[in-house]
Point group: C2
Chain length 307, copies 2
Amino acid sequence: MSLLAVGSMAFDAIETPFGKVNKIVGGSATYVAYTASNFIKPIQLVSVVGEDFPKETVADLESRGADFAGVERIAGKKSFFWSGKYHLDMNTRDTLVTDLNVLADFDPKLPEAYRETEYLMLGNLDPAVQLKVIEQMTRRPKFIVLDTMNFWMDIALPGLQEVLKKVDALMVNDSEARQLSGQYSLVKAAKAIMKMGPRFLIIKKGEHGALLFHEDKVFFAPALPLEEVFDPTGAGDTFAGGFIGHIAHTHDISFENMKTAIIVGSAMASFCVEKFGPEKLKMLTRYDIDMRIQDFVNLVNFDIQLV
Amino acid sequence: MSLLAVGSMAFDAIETPFGKVNKIVGGSATYVAYTASNFIKPIQLVSVVGEDFPKETVADLESRGADFAGVERIAGKKSFFWSGKYHLDMNTRDTLVTDLNVLADFDPKLPEAYRETEYLMLGNLDPAVQLKVIEQMTRRPKFIVLDTMNFWMDIALPGLQEVLKKVDALMVNDSEARQLSGQYSLVKAAKAIMKMGPRFLIIKKGEHGALLFHEDKVFFAPALPLEEVFDPTGAGDTFAGGFIGHIAHTHDISFENMKTAIIVGSAMASFCVEKFGPEKLKMLTRYDIDMRIQDFVNLVNFDIQLV
């Protein structure tokens, strides 16, 4: 089994009520790779970076099973840069800077060896770029997960709608689900979105957990109540990495297994927010992950013996 | 086993995006009685009503096992009246009218037969009134649950702090937990509040579920994702009624059983919001309740076989 992850590899500057970093490695593909590598190898990456992207990060990810054959490094140019500041509630943030740099002309080219990969994670990017990746697959992947955001709904809705028809699962947050569907109720929103293409819909609610919809079924995974959320940057991508990593590893796309995958994603995201950027993800052991998943079992497990 | 429930019995006028009622029976003790009576009888009520409170409601609740010996009916006066309007998100509302009426001079008097009751639910009222009830118990109840609100934190904090020392469990919403503790993180808020007296803390998050804290343990129950939330009025009291009703019925105050009680409370609250006021609660069968609790099992149950 292998996993193909497409997305940004970038630098972030982050300010939260707890601190500030001026330049830390980020990007959706980076978070997915750090996370999913706990569950599956290799992770075939498709991205674009500038000449400033750290060779140490590349080496670190390669040692974890990431394959950089599909990552283009462009000389004389800079990597994508994002800067944001979180509010006290950590659920909202202001974007201060978005320098697309090399991402502006990203034209993904899949190495031959990637084109029959069974699990495909399409990180948040222009839907046109996501579509190009799908079109280069010579065999339809067993499972395609799409991440997107309100920005693409605003400026590239037709393109997004086209990609939606070609994927198995969509991952969005609650306000994006409402925007895409025009429905306030998340149950109604889910029904509407599943008619647009994806058979599975995951609605991320940040500190309020995540919902998985499929046909007439729904599953809910809470977020772990934490004493301190230090930096939410990358939590959604980490969630995605844990989700797809578990599915690719188990090679099982049943609804039952997808529930476990949602818990794995939630557990990984709960680590991510404990330090700046992907720092915490770099230091995890398999034991840490197992213990954290057990925390989720304890958090929601109850005895149904009623009387 | 029996349950003593103290609280308001009142009229509400409610406007939601889905409709409007000018006068419907409400009040915390009313919701607790309608809900808990599915699990335990008798329910000893302590409240005060005006001469306008419907005899039909009294008869209906009596037929369900409510005992009105502790409910004072004051001739020539009106019952407590509250009017509110919900915003589209249903999580926020404006209070339009609060006419205390008979509640202004509420001086609870416990009938002799109530004074050794083992389970005590103190609905949201002036902490001084809640204290008077506790002081009239000739035997310390096995379990006391206190509901309160930000209003009392604003104007009667010392009284509230005094009552907090005498109860086992506190039930508040997330913003109230933050206000009472001065902590933004709910985990930190819970630790601070449990030092004020209650060994158990329940934080209600409306559509985002509920958290139960005890010592270093935490349990989370989601709210059921519903297609339509018609009217949230009374959902918190219904939750309380299901929670204390299950505990009184099972006569078990272990953390494990309290988890089940939280699920029962969540299930009952999910019914409450489906119609105006307590209308839906009046028509429930035991089968409806069992099926709804099964929905919660399906919603959160997952296979922990990881690999």
